[in-house]
Symmetry: C2
Subunit: 180 residues, 2 copies
């Protein structure tokens, strides 16, 4: 993984892909699958939703840190599998053949097999709505990875894969943040 300038990290989540969230607690790593997230700022800042019935919730509340990993279409079956079992009784890194890598600033691990990883700190928890507010502190990308298409959950068990890209940079120049 190569370090990605932090000001470009929001571009990994802005398109709304399914992400994997890693946490660690009591020496055990865990992973959850999430589609309910959004960018909040270019700094970068993110929001995501999770509740106490998800095993990762406790680690987020306790350790106030996590890693957002961005999987691609070749990992789709693993992403779905991760979302349908619980860290309470499953070592998901082991079950799904994924490799935890040491992060730079947080205890939660990066996922080697993912396209990108963002180390995050929890800066607020809006309990009423289940919203965790995260600051990205380091970001990493695998520059040599061939498959770079992410997947987007439709919510019924189907997923749409990234297609072609269209370029409207010229039209948007006045609105783009610096450094992207």
């Amino acid at each position: 993984m190569k370090e990605l300038p932090l000001k470009r990290a929001f571009m990994l989540l802005e398109p709304g892909p399914v992400i994997l969230l890693t946490t660690t607690s009591g020496g055990k790593n865990n992973i959850m699958t999430i589609s309910w997230h959004m960018v909040m700022d270019f700094t970068p800042q993110f929001a995501l939703l999770t509740w106490p019935w998800n095993f990762s919730y406790e680690a987020l509340v306790k350790n106030r840190e996590c890693v957002i990993a961005v999987p691609t279409v070749d990992l789709a079956k693993k992403v779905v599998g991760i979302g349908t079992c619980s860290g309470r009784d499953t070592d998901k890194f082991d079950k799904f053949g994924l490799t935890p890598l040491r992060a730079k600033s947080v205890q939660a691990p990066l996922i080697k097999e993912c396209l990108a990883n963002i180390e995050c700190r929890v800066t607020d928890h809006v309990k009423k709505h289940g919203i965790f507010v995260l600051d990205g502190v380091h970001a990493w990308i695998d520059p040599g990875r061939k498959e770079r298409r992410t997947i987007h959950a439709i919510g019924d068990g189907t997923f749409v894969v990234d297609g072609r890209t269209i370029d409207h940079r010229k039209l948007m120049l006045s609105k783009l943040p610096p450094g992207v």
Copy 2:
């Protein structure tokens, strides 16, 4: 537009497309372009981020309602154009040749040219973070529309268009909400 069962409306936003948000205030309709939104519940409930420097903010705070319209790739240039001018000095329906349709439960208009529209009420405003919490109250879809591919902002002026769909319904059966 044909009414869409409300329990399926979250499926329009779960994949993370760029959306258009309509509001109305003082007899004037407005539209803004947003990528910073997420699903919060299947009911459906959504979150989106906007701040006082966006002209739509005042209408959201004052009238506590809006319409989320889902544009497709054929509307990409208009979507970008809408995001780079302000309702303060522009009638965006007029400028971009879009047609406001009367909604069923809110004063804000549907957009005829979009694939789908969700009428929403603001149920909370987390001011500290700029987050509006919305309940969807009616949803509409254009069943005859040929172009159904949405677009996802990358954040640098480029957009990724929906590609193929993959089906993992069987793997996810235990996790799907009723009625999708």
